[in-house]
Symmetry: C3
């Protein structure tokens, strides 16, 4: 692709860059990292920290933030450049033009087992050894990779992609444009047991899991169905690998849950919530819109909208940072108190 | 089902409710949550917190704790009610009468690969594309869902259910009435390596995993076999999703391990132990009967029977709660000590 | 095997024991644990803690550390003994002589789906219902167990073993002598999204995962590919179950990552790094050669080579142990400070 075509394509998509410069006929064949850049590629300099790579880069075009110094450095090397309000988003769009993941093979593989009453949309692809049980409805353009298992009565929305070896349990409803990554398990029984003198008695889990449009669920993550009602994930929420979402949780729109996050039963999240890696949230806790929990936080109570929390049990991030600073000097603090006690004792003895 | 039949069925099962009231001929077709109740259903008011829903409920019968105020409120609405010593257990029993999960299709699917010497009990069901290798014994009523893989020499007890895509490794012994959820891996090699100047040398893991009767293992959880001997899970112990149980652990009866718990090698748990979400237990630690660890606890040493522990490293829950309260005021405490030091300095200077 | 043959075999393999004693014609049929030892076996007494088992053992030969007291105790029972500089390594070698895990069935199972252009080395074994997509290259002696799925353009080195139900995504490069355990997912898309006013926009992940020779990846662990470039695991690094390795991480040689460890994106580890269970490492952090993080540590910044760190946020282990000791007495410390304040107030009032 010529550099000029790239600019035109981005503009036509409504992602017009704020600025660009350089020879319009540069030949672009892909992208590369600035630290290991290759000829005929677009690369990305996130900020001044990476500016030293510009002098040696083999790339032809550099995505940069709107920054006169960086622009001058790139121009001094005779390279093309391109910038936008969000250079990271711009780079994502360019990457999407040059690279798309392997699509599944079209059609239904001869070894797939599809129950006779399954409703198939247009252009559904089902991979080898996949199993689709009774009463399932698959929308247009659904792609099911090899060895996926879909239990009965599941609905899958248009263009949703199920990667290899994931399992979708009975009655789950997956919206359109979702991606379920390999090994994820959606809609299995919630962990519901009643303690009795004779041990744990199972509470049947008759509910279902509902994913709204555009949800992604990472590899080997698990989302459980509740005893009654729904576990629901709001539109465009993204979930990383090895995340556990307990039965009866309700998660809003546009949230991001990083790897190994765990939500106990009945947790509710507002919209735009961000939970960093290994965060845990206890039963029935509520986290308000736009709240952020830093990695490994343990949340028991409720978190207000817009709050940033850290630690275990989680507290306001600002307070936590100060408490951590003192924690790391606790041995000194302890000594100081002991010394004060001795001084006062000496005073009394005088 | 008529309300009167429900009462009779519960009584016949030995789960006699302590009391009930209302029209015996109410027509009941299922259950619903009190917050979104539906006509012709049984619903559940756990306590006064949910009492305000009673005035608006569309349900016909309400399970309540033994509480005169709640009973009066329900009767005032002309609704049926039912109570028992454990209303939660009562609700679980009623739910089990109206709902059971999808059973596997009966028989052995044409695409399942079953080694010629596999011993099959009565009424075994094996799903599509499941693989059962040599020397395996399956008890009566065993149900193996699609794409399950069973390695050689495994024994599976009567009525045990293996959900889609789980893997049972060589020599594992699963008791009767167990449930292995989707993606769980039982009996894989423990993480045994000996450090040497040339790197890690594998310690072969020749042992096996044994699950006693009634054990449940959650989705994508892993239970490893040891170098020698057994990793053993006691009867009726329930394990949630994404739990790791290291090689050579011994877990007692009726324990509950919540999601993302991790036990290192050689850990021993007594009976009735409860580990909340994301708890970690270090090598060779012992946790006594009936002990409870709250979420995210990190346990290094031994925990006495009946203890309740929290924190990292875990300490008595009562002490931890007090320590947390001070931790959250550490910046103030630090300032107070600095001020005391200044005051004493000033005294000395006078 | 006669005891004398065992000694000869170990010597021939270059793992010469430092010493041994007892009847050369003892008949050895396997190994057993010292706590539950069996006749005709080799057992292992790691140190004085287990010495009391010697008087009752039914084993024929005991592996011991070089220790005159233990040697005398074993000889007093008329047992054979054997020792080496690393008795644990010696025991691992003996175990490997008596036990090897089940190999896969040889050949390509009739139900495996192998794309026509797959390049197959000598002696490749592919299990039932495995799926190997286009452009894949499998080295000599590769063993692929049942229900494994390999996406296009993957390379698998000689003698590498893929256990049941694992998934290898597009373009991944697995070295020789690797082991991928059941349910692991290698090379899936990294968690890359750009925040915008319209929600998260996917950053395509066009990179790949590279495992060098001798890497092991535990059950249900996940290693993601990056937007550009590689996620790389160095030779002979061992990874336990349920570990998450984010996109763009670079891990050195001979590292060990215990269960449920999580590395965010772009983390770099040197060689010989050990991360204990449930450790988390934040974006872009670097951990130097030979560093050790104890269980549940949360690492944000960089860790120097050879450091031992603990806690969250992680600090030097020695400091952490002291801080923990004070933490557990924080309620007392708080009282002491309050009392000092009262004393000084009283002084002022006088």
């Amino acid at each position: 692709m010529k550099f000029s075509s790239l600019i035109e394509t981005l503009s036509a998509q409504g992602h017009a860059p704020l600025g660009w410069g350089g020879a319009p006929d540069l030949d672009l064949q892909g992208l590369s990292q600035i630290s290991e850049s290759l000829p005929h590629t677009v690369t990305y300099v996130e900020g001044p920290k990476y500016a030293h790579y510009i002098a040696e880069t083999q790339a032809s075009v550099v995505v940069i933030p709107s920054d006169a110094t960086l622009q001058a450095a790139v121009e001094a090397q005779g390279l093309g450049w391109i910038t936008a309000q969000s250079p990271r988003l711009l780079f994502a769009h360019i990457l999407g033009l040059f690279y798309q993941p392997f699509p599944g093979d079209p059609g239904i593989h001869a070894t797939a087992i599809v129950a006779p009453d399954v409703v198939l949309g247009e252009g559904v692809a089902i991979g080898a050894h996949a199993v689709v049980q009774g009463g399932v409805t698959l929308g247009d353009g659904v792609c099911i990779q090899a060895n996926v298992v879909i239990y009965p009565q599941v609905t899958v929305g248009d263009r949703t992609l199920l990667h290899a070896n994931c399992v979708i349990h009975e009655r789950s409803q997956l919206g359109s444009d979702c991606v379920i990554h390999s090994g994820a398990v959606i809609g299995a029984e919630g962990f519901g047991f009643v303690p009795t003198g004779q041990g744990w008695v199972k509470m049947q889990q008759s509910g279902r899991v509902v994913l709204d449009a555009g949800v992604e669920v990472g590899c080997n993550s698990t989302i459980d169905r509740p005893a009654l009602g729904e576990t629901r994930i709001g539109a465009n929420t993204k979930i990383d690998n090895l995340v556990h979402i307990g039965h009866g949780c309700t998660i809003g729109r546009n949230c991001a849950l990083a790897a190994q996050v765990g939500l106990a039963g009945g947790v509710t999240l507002g919209d735009h919530v961000i939970l960093a890696g290994q965060v845990g949230v206890a039963n029935q806790a509520h986290i308000g819109d736009g709240a952020i929990a830093s990695s490994k936080s343990g949340i028991h109570g409720n978190v207000e909208a817009g709050a940033v929390v850290s630690g275990y049990p989680a507290i306001a991030n600002r307070l936590w940072l100060k408490a951590v600073a003192v924690y790391n000097r606790l041995p000194e603090l302890h000594k100081a108190v002991k010394q004060l006690e001795r001084q006062l004792e000496r005073q009394r003895d005088q």
